[in-house]
Symmetry: C2
Subunit: 220 residues, 2 copies
Amino acid sequence: MTPKLFGFWRSLATCRVRVALALKGIKAEEVSINLMQGQQHGAEYRAVNPQSLVPALVIDNGPPLFQSMAILEYLEETHPQPPLLPPDPRGRARVRGLAQIVAADSHPLIVPRIRTYLEKELHVDEAGRTRWAQHWILEALKAIEAHLVGEPETGRFCHGDTPTLADICLATQVFGTQFFNCDTSGVPAVMRIFGECMKIEAFDRAQPLKQPGAPKELKH
Amino acid sequence: MTPKLFGFWRSLATCRVRVALALKGIKAEEVSINLMQGQQHGAEYRAVNPQSLVPALVIDNGPPLFQSMAILEYLEETHPQPPLLPPDPRGRARVRGLAQIVAADSHPLIVPRIRTYLEKELHVDEAGRTRWAQHWILEALKAIEAHLVGEPETGRFCHGDTPTLADICLATQVFGTQFFNCDTSGVPAVMRIFGECMKIEAFDRAQPLKQPGAPKELKH
């Protein structure tokens, strides 16, 4: 059975899984769950993922996998080539740590449910919500920048010369800077590595604006 | 050299690492970084972790490890006994997914830097900030509850009958409900498993209120 990725064109967490599937040469059918229309809250999708979040991945005839980073680890364990984690535990810890700076400390702060809460419950206007998103996106990228600049493991990519989970998270986070019109001039090492990622077809074709349903360009 | 855990009595991410070290029988010296006094922003601690967050772990004569979930995976790889992840990739994905519901989708929303931003930048009063914390803590626990109730892998603990990374995240999240006075009556499976965790000395002794520097009881 062809793997099925439940996602949305704009979802950066879905994008992570899309890149990893492409890097590993796994073909998946994508099912769009329209987050803007609230489709994630419907009974049909809650049966797939009770948390009402994308992505979810149905693969290897099992129940749906959930949480993007858990899915990436599963893909790494079951489809080890090409590796997206280094072979040594300390290198793996560095890559996972860089990835978590995005996946835990930043991206969850800017997703639709948070922006909706800011708007509806806390009455934060659109300019305030945009500043919120810009702030937390850049906080994470600045933390990653400090690691990249200060540590000898940094190479063409975040950790050596091949892409890892850290680069997947870095690249999707930079897509987020485009959504929220962030000034990325303060994170040159991040942007250099983003450029390297975008030379790879798996990253380029996975980007939000190249997905079905995406607008031709982003409005700021 | 004795491993050194940089943390804070109240930090739930530090607590995760403290539990894992104890479960694996690794003795570590704990260095308190007072988050309430802003010690994490000082030059001395930034040299340990440029992201100015706790925890960080110095172990095995290497540079500091950062990000709690990356540290837990490192400990699992280098000190595999007792295992905190199941042996099968699908089971590991479930455990990591449950853990990430807390570590990515909830806990980062309630940490001091977010509460400070809500207060200083968005002028949200204390009642509003408490409602924010309660809301996001419970959203995660409700999602975990749905998995626990609906899936056959649930046992005495989140996944089978021994504690895993999922239980570590669940337990620390329940400590968070105590900080913010959350009503946990809607998540009985979560609370049952929390009770199982607290029968284990590694969990009990790692809890925030039993750390040096903690107040005798929480003020609500």
